[in-house]
Amino acid sequence: MSLLEARGLSKRFGGVRAVDHLDLALAEGDLLGLIGPNGAGKTTAFNLLSGFLAPDAGEIRLRGRSIVGLKPHRICQLGVARTFQIVRPFPRMTVLQNVEVGALARHAGTGAAVRVARAVVEQVGLGPKANAVASGLTMPERKRLELARALATEPAVLLLDEVMAGLNPTEIERMVVLLREIHAAGMSMLLIEHNMRAVMALSQRVVVLNFGSKIAEGAPAEVARHPKVVEAYLGEEYVDAAPAR
């Protein structure tokens, strides 16, 4: 049984089919990349999976249990945590307090929640900034904070929406290392990412979306050579580079 599974997931906005009969399956311990050109429906798919949008059709199951129609906070409590592409820190709270909010989803007492939050803050490398106010963080730090808050909810699945966007190559390298560590510790992840190097380096499998539909799925190297994917998105330059890896 899949950990998280979507069948025939569809969402339209007016005449636009943002997500069109999408099937996705994530097994325990998977790290699945979700790629596609701008407007392909990746973030809409995340909003459907995390309950921020209601699908027009289709089914979403977490460990076999339907989570369609549940509110985002319930879905989080059941074990699906998401980050936002445009980071949304609680600006006037400290890094530690931000992460504490996530930890409170599993620990009702603030004492226990703060302990968990402190550990997660260390894990993502924000230890020295624990008591800094979130509004003063740099972009790479904000991305880490976004990740830390989601991790603190102790999810079964992490949905990461472009955690590398806006980072420079060195920072991306560090984020890849961090995500590898988290994955190695047993976390299942679904990763939306525009940075191809990062997706190819991290993912075991990649799903490619275009105009809301899945156009390819498979190992990163296979997908990169798939003619439909090349046509839709990657371009000649990348096809030449991919087999060399």
Binding site: S50, F52, K71, P72, H73, R74, C76, Q77, A81, R82, F84, R88, P89, F90, P91, R92, M93, Q97, E100, V101, G102, L104, A105, A108, G109, T110, A113, R149, A150, A152, T153
Partner: protein
């Protein structure tokens, strides 16, 4: 900090022995408005849901306990909780309508104002509770009827009200409830994504806030002995309730108290001198100017600024 608190409390306890009755009256209103500000602070400050209709809760609490005392003979000591419960129920209705249907920002403000106005108009037209003439309470001076002949007793009653509300807010602040309210204020969708049942916690905040405000209605009724619908349910009173925590620092524990110590004497003095000159209501203009100044120059309120000044001085 603890010692400073204990010293401040000692001064407040000893004050009635040395100050005049007039000063005592001003202090009573400082405490009472600090209490109301603290009650508002739960939903307006911590949860960031701007209610500008809190007079409705005060009015419901005041009328409930006054009518029960006069017509049924229920002691206001019990009536204050009945009034609080009714105000809490009204808060739940307003909160549900606002939060369930996702009214944010100005739309929520309008909803709360509208409800307070509806209350004002309804009570103005219900003859059983005096209608537009108002409702009057017989003065007995009997402590069992929540009435005191000595201003010093009123002083301690309002001091206890203020401290109790502050204690409740301090408890909320340190628990999951308080952290969740702050998260909702800062970014509701992000809070929702982190497992916060935002509807539930906003409702709870509204109920706690309106309950406390309703409890305060009993003091209002028994101290002033007359209830006028246009005053008790009016927008000016709602503004009086919210302006102190905003000036002092909304969403902070001591903001409403500091705000009340700044504004209540100012209101009293300006009301007195401007009123004498025939400028009735001019203090409301002064409030408006002050509110604009606070929004421009002290958006987070006086208390957070004060804390930063003290810290900077310590470091220097």
């Amino acid at each position: 900090m603890t010692w400073l608190g204990i010293a401040a409390l000692g001064v407040l306890l000893a004050l009635p022995a040395v100050v005049s009755s007039y000063v005592l009256t001003i202090l009573i209103f400082i405490f009472f408005y600090a209490f109301l500000g603290q009650a508002w602070n739960v939903v307006g400050g911590y949860a960031g849901q701007l209610s500008v209709g809190h007079a409705a809760f005060l009015g419901v609490g005041a009328y409930a306990s006054a009518v029960l005392a006069q017509e049924v003979g229920l002691s206001p000591w019990l009536g204050m909780f009945v009034g609080g419960a009714l105000a809490g129920a009204l808060g739940a209705v307003i909160g549900y309508l606002g939060f369930r249907f996702g009214l944010r920002g100005f739309y929520f403000v309008l909803l709360t104002v509208a409800f307070a106005e509806v209350c004002r108009i309804v009570v103005n037209n219900v003859e059983a509770v005096g209608g537009a003439v108002g409702f009057y309470i017989t003065f007995t001076g009997d402590p069992r009827q929540f009435q005191f002949r000595d201003n010093r007793a009123w002083y301690y009653v309002t001091l206890v009200l203020m401290l109790a509300a502050t204690g409740i807010v301090a408890l909320i602040e340190r628990r999951r409830f308080g952290v969740y309210l702050a998260a909702i204020r800062e970014d509701e969708s992000a809070a929702e994504a982190l497992g916060v049942d935002t509807l539930r916690y906003k409702m709870l905040a509204m109920i706690v806030s309106s309950f406390l405000t309703g409890v305060g209605g009993t003091f209002y009724a028994c101290y002033l002995l007359s209830l006028q619908p246009n005053a008790v349910f009016g927008i000016p009173l709602s503004v009086e309730i919210i302006i102190r925590p905003i000036v002092g620092g909304s969403g902070t524990l001591l903001g409403p108290i500091l705000g009340s110590f700044i504004l209540t004497p100012l209101a009293e003095v300006s009301r007195y001198y401007l009123g004498q000159g025939g400028w009735h209501g001019a203090h409301l203009i002064a409030y408006g100017v002050l509110l604009v100044a606070v929004v421009l120059f002290l958006p987070e309120g006086a208390y957070p600024r004060l804390v930063r000044l003290v810290r900077a001085r310590k470091r220097a």
